[in-house]
């Protein structure tokens, strides 16, 4: 258990203290590039011998970010801007930002006005994915991203290095999917908070390093007998399910998280980077295989059905929509998710997520009610 506990502590430390991780990499002489969520081509940074580090904000009450963004901005972006404006992201060579929603589009201006020491590498995904010109467009867009990364970091990103990085990322994604299954055999150890720290630490660590850690964790878990979970089970969907205090409410009510469709967690791992004629085109082609995500245009969405299928496979009684406050793309998907959930005879919970609010009492009441339902 010592090795297991030690590993769990390491995941927890990384997830809770990304600034320390950033400083460690910088002290090692590495360059670090901030990566705004989601579907940012981190592989390009990795191929340049640098560390791509996720920028996911934090649980804070912003005091200066309001200068450049309205109060109805999603709290991840508000926290990120606050960190940027107050020097918490100092040391990043630059930051990549996808223009996936209106908040990102607005934030691109806010960031450039408020965070002068971290240059912005903006880019946009094509949303009309069935158009014959879309793949070529994204490949060209990634070429422009690569050129800007090289400019801001003085690194070189070769095709050969990119091919290697793609393999590392595909391997990591596969390991994360495996972890989700292994975790469900040990729900006594992999509590919702522990599960989250394993998932979240991935956005801050170099991917091969994280892959090795998760493999070690799975090896330790596989030494333990399979645990038969007697409590309720739930699937989480949304952008993030944070903070730990929020997730602890599930544990307090003997509810296990047995699967997720969170943008910060499993959603990014279910689509491998496909084979293709060039590494840039491979990277671009991944976007065209993404599915059931609020940030990706689809004429027909089976997100509700996907969640129901996940719940049925894992024996979950409910689906918790962790609705990021002011995230309009997720908000537009909420009706289809909740209706599909109820149609399947499952419980649907709508829990508000806000990094700038410390009060989880509304969620507590809803989760308690779910726990008490037959």
């Amino acid at each position: 258990m010592t090795d297991l506990n030690q590993l769990l502590q390491e995941f927890s430390d990384v997830a809770a203290n990304p600034r320390i991780v950033l400083e460690r990499y910088i002290a090692q002489g590495k360059k670090v590039v901030g990566c705004f969520p989601i579907y940012t081509p981190e592989e390009l940074v990795h191929a340049g011998g640098m560390i791509p580090m996720g920028l996911w904000g934090g649980q804070i009450a912003p005091t200066v970010a309001g200068k450049y963004n309205p109060i109805f901005t999603c709290s991840i972006m508000r926290s990120c801007l606050e960190y940027g404006m107050t020097g918490k992201y100092k040391g990043l060579s630059c930051a990549m930002m996808p223009m996936l929603c209106d908040t990102f589009r607005g934030m691109s201006g806010g960031w450039r006005a408020g965070v002068k020491d971290v240059p912005l590498v903006a880019f946009i995904h094509p949303q009309n994915r069935t158009d014959s010109g879309a793949l070529e467009f994204l490949t060209e867009e990634y070429k422009a991203v690569r050129a800007l990364l090289e400019k801001y970091t003085n690194c070189t990103i070769t095709d050969a290095a990119l091919e290697k990085s793609i393999e590392i990322y595909n391997e990591h994604a596969a390991v994360m999917c495996e972890f989700v299954d292994v975790a469900n055999d040990h729900l006594d150890v992999i509590t919702p908070v522990v599960r989250h720290s394993v998932m979240k630490s991935a956005v801050f660590l170099e991917k091969s390093e994280h892959t090795e850690k998760v493999r070690s964790l799975m090896a330790e878990l596989n030494k333990l007998p399979i645990h038969e979970w007697k409590g309720k089970k739930v699937i989480l969907t949304g952008i993030t399910a944070e903070p730990d205090e929020f997730l602890e409410i599930f544990a307090e009510n003997r509810i296990a998280v047995v699967g997720d469709d969170l943008a910060q967690e499993s959603r990014q791992y279910r689509t491998p980077i496909p084979d293709g004629p060039s590494p840039l085109e491979r990277l671009a082609a991944q976007w065209f295989n993404r599915f059931c995500c609020s940030t990706v245009h689809e004429n027909e969405s089976n997100r509700g059905e996907l969640l129901v299928e996940m719940a049925e496979k894992q024996g979950a009684q409910g689906i918790a929509v962790c609705l990021m406050r002011f995230c309009d793309v997720e908000e537009y998907d909420y009706p289809i998710i909740s209706k599909a959930t109820e149609k399947a005879g499952l419980h649907s919970l709508c829990l508000e997520i806000d990094q700038n609010t410390q009060n989880n009492e509304q969620s507590r009441t809803k989760i308690q009610s779910f726990a008490e339902m037959d």
Partner: protein, 422 residues
């Protein structure tokens, strides 16, 4: 409240406005007639390449325009409530979307009571996301709820200040071409490229005419109450490629020139201050806003919103058209780009300040405002003031706050004028 010394004279509705009303009524009537004949009727986002639908001769209505009209008549709340209640859409999404999605759902119900201007249930959707990304989510939901197809032109976003790179123009052009092919298949009609060229030419005539009219308001004092411009958005949205719009704008131009010749104005108070209005109108509160502006002698002589349909390109140049639709709306530009345009406009129209609508429904425009204050103040030296509101949701706007913010702006503008005169 400031005293309004100028009694509002009863003015006849100008001929150009009568023509707008007739044109709008005709467009709605055409859509209903087509529906009754079993022909497909479309709903379109406001800055979709209308030249395509116009060439096909398709009856198309515009939910954003419709939502604005219904909001101005204070008739939108039941639809918004339906979307938030029974349909479960969260309160934070765009109020145009909530209203329209709620309305589309109610239309298929037995107890639906038509609210004018009423649109028929659509059979297809035309989507361009150059105004915002929420449009895409809104139309996805309409498409799924109604089971109808979307013809989509993804217009990207200019996150830097440079004009669109060649690969961006190529992608948008590809979509326009593919859209035409897909529509040919769906409607079983051959696309007439000669007609397309004519529509492009007509669209350019109309946009240029409107620009000329707007520019006339740079005169001091302005011939028009700036809010009048909101009344002429409907031809730009609904009929940008039609000759009836040319006739309306030619008439409007004559009327404005007449106002200039007689040194009169449709702004019936004394024009003491000129401001640039930033953002969409608060449609449910338009009357109050205007009353308050007049009472302080403030004419919002110019606003950026009405220039959103200034889609400029050379007829026949498809690359140019693709580029123009990527650069058509306030929200398709980076903040430094759009604020540089606003700064120029503030100077050209001799504005003393900028009054900004922090529109709860429009994140992009609000971001522009928050980030843009510094740029405007640095490039023009004029003060900016914000007020909270919404384009349709009546729960956001506060009359008292609007007056207080306006009052503060007027005080600064007054102070600046006195300082200049010292």
């Amino acid at each position: 409240m400031a005293e309004n010394n100028v009694p509002a004279p009863k003015r006849e509705i100008p001929k150009s406005r009568v023509m707008v009303n007739q044109q709008t009524a005709q467009i709605y009537a055409n859509a209903w007639a087509a529906k009754e004949k079993g022909e497909p009727v479309g709903w379109s986002t406001a800055i979709f390449p209308q030249e395509i639908a116009e060439t096909f001769g398709l009856p198309v209505l515009y939910p954003e325009n419709n939502a604005a009209a219904i909001s101005a008549k204070h008739l939108g709340d039941p639809f918004i409530q339906h979307a938030e209640g029974e349909m479960r859409y969260p309160i934070n999404i765009c109020s145009y979307a909530r209203m329209n999605i709620g309305m589309a759902d109610k239309m298929s119900g037995e107890k639906y009571e038509r609210v004018e201007p009423a649109m028929p249930v659509p059979d297809f959707l035309l989507l361009a996301n150059n105004s915002c990304t929420q449009l895409m989510k809104w139309y996805e939901n309409l498409s799924r709820n109604l089971g109808i197809p979307i013809f989509f032109v993804d217009c990207l976003f200019n996150y830097y200040e440079e004009p669109p790179a060649p690969h961006k123009i190529k992608y948008v052009r590809s979509q326009i071409e593919n859209c035409i092919k897909d529509m040919e298949t769906f409607f079983g009609k051959k696309f007439d490229w000669d007609r397309f060229l004519e529509i492009q030419q007509r669209s350019q005539i109309n946009r240029k005419l409107f620009n000329e009219i707007v520019k006339l308001n740079s005169r001091t004092p302005a011939p028009m109450n700036g809010f009048d411009l909101f009344n002429y958005m409907s031809p730009l949205v609904l009929c940008r490629g039609q000759e009836s719009t040319t006739a309306i704008f030619e008439q409007l131009k004559l009327e404005v020139l007449e106002l200039i010749a007689t040194n009169t104005s449709t702004f019936t108070a004394k024009e003491q201050h000129r401001v640039h209005w930033e953002g969409i109108a608060c449609w449910p509160n338009l009357g109050y806003n205007l009353k308050m502006l007049k009472s302080y002698g403030v004419n919002a002589v110019m606003n950026g919103y009405v220039t959103a349909w200034d889609v400029a390109y050379e007829p026949g140049d498809l690359d140019g058209m693709a580029k123009a639709y990527q650069m058509s709306s306030t929200n398709s530009f980076s903040t430094p780009s759009i604020m540089a345009k606003r700064a120029k406009s503030i100077k050209d129209y001799s504005c003393d300040g900028m009054l900004c609508h922090v529109n709860r429904s429009c994140k992009m425009m609000t971001f522009h405002i928050f980030v843009g204050h510094e740029i405007i103040e640095e490039q023009t030296g004029v003060p900016c003031a914000n007020f909270d509101g919404d384009q349709s949701d009546t729960r956001v706007f506060s009359e008292a706050q609007f007056e207080t913010r306006l009052q503060a702006l007027v005080e600064i503008m007054q102070h600046n004028k006195e300082a200049q005169n010292d």
